[in-house]
């Protein structure tokens, strides 16, 4: 699990630089770069907040992200254990999303599975 998230401190969005795009060919191939250069977390015009998958997954382990949200509605089988008879069993409100996938299997693109449809 990446820990990038914890190490990063919030900073202001860099000052805006305008880059005019008149042709699709001027757009960068890589979605994490911008025309005229790379600005992390920003896009042409400089205001889009971009995060890649690995970074987002890294934030999952921060303490804030683990506390239950306020006002979470209780929907049996969706936000709370499936049915009354399982209420007092091992689940204890723990839902499958909370059980992180096996180590190393959910960070980085190299671990992506092949879909066979």
């Amino acid at each position: 699990m990446s820990t990038d998230c914890k190490k990063t401190t919030a900073t202001d969005i860099p000052s805006t630089r305008r880059v005019s795009i008149n042709d699709a060919a001027h757009m960068p191939l890589d979605y994490s770069t911008t025309p005229g250069g790379t600005l992390f977390s920003t896009t042409p015009g400089g205001t889009r907040i971009i995060y890649d998958r690995k970074f987002l997954l890294g934030c999952r382990s921060s303490p804030v992200a683990k506390t239950p949200p306020r006002g979470l509605p209780k929907i049996p089988g969706v936000t709370s254990p499936p049915s009354k008879d399982t209420d007092e069993k091992a689940h204890n409100g723990e839902l499958p999303n909370n059980v992180t996938a096996p180590d190393g299997s959910n960070t980085g693109d190299d671990s992506q599975f092949e879909i066979d449809i």
Partner: protein, 240 residues
């Protein structure tokens, strides 16, 4: 928003309401109505506007998680659809997203005929919403067992603004059905081919789909017509 380049040029303001004309105007009116409803509630409700917490990573937009499940044995209708859909919550930051996500079941473990919807705050996951009515969706049908992983990849790409189509994305849906699961992503302007092509290409990339995966684009207008045909409804104005 006519094309993505307009979107790029005007992006500086960070204002979500910069579109000229078309669906947005209607949406504004609706928002004002909703604002008035909010004013009827207590001030504390208004103060509960969702914002990123200190030190959290803000998202480009606030999003709302919804859940819906078809009531067994009752005929579907637009009204019952709206009644069956439940709001799970709104979030404004990456950390707040994980709070919700980690306390929700994975879509692959849902039972019955149910859906998770993740839409930008203010857009209802309904064809009729002003933001959606000119729009459409890319649909990918998945064999059982793939929904949880694909859904996670899809929504992470949406939250992280990987689609690069300006204001066009409305939301994403995962639909759990009897023999298959379906994921879809909705955008505002079905007629904007540059946008829909870009969404398709991004989907292939973020979902790691093999080149022969069938992806279908369906306009909400067609969805509405198909739904009306299926339910034997006749257009009141005498058409159809």
């Amino acid at each position: 928003m006519n094309n993505k380049f307009d979107a790029l040029k005007d992006d500086d303001s960070g204002d979500h309401d910069q579109d000229q004309g078309s669906p947005k105007d209607g949406e504004k009116e609706k928002t004002e109505d909703e604002d008035q409803n909010i004013k009827k509630k207590s001030l504390s409700d208004v103060l509960q506007m969702v914002l990123p917490g200190a030190g959290e990573h803000p998202l480009q937009y606030n999003y709302t998680f919804w859940y819906s499940r078809r009531t067994p044995g009752r005929p579907a209708s637009t009204q019952s659809y709206e009644q069956n859909i439940k709001q799970i919550g709104i979030f404004a930051s990456v950390e707040q997203f994980w709070r919700f996500y980690s306390h929700m079941i994975r879509p692959g473990d849902l039972t019955g005929h149910s859906d998770f919807h993740l839409f930008k705050e203010g857009i209802k996951p309904m064809w009729e919403d002003d933001a959606n009515k000119m729009g459409g969706k890319w649909i990918i049908r998945l064999r059982k067992g793939l929904a949880s992983r694909c859904w996670e990849n899809l929504i992470l790409a949406m939250l992280g603004e990987q689609f690069m189509v300006g204001e066009e994305i409305c939301g994403a849906v995962v639909s759990v059905r009897f023999q298959e699961d379906i994921i879809s992503i909705w955008n505002k302007t079905a007629g904007d081919q540059a946008t829909t092509a870009r969404i398709r290409d991004t989907l292939r990339r973020v979902l790691n789909l093999p080149p022969n995966t069938i992806m279908e684009y369906k306009t909400h207008n067609d969805s509405i017509k198909a739904w009306e045909d299926f339910h034997g409804l006749v257009n009141p104005s005498g058409g159809l």
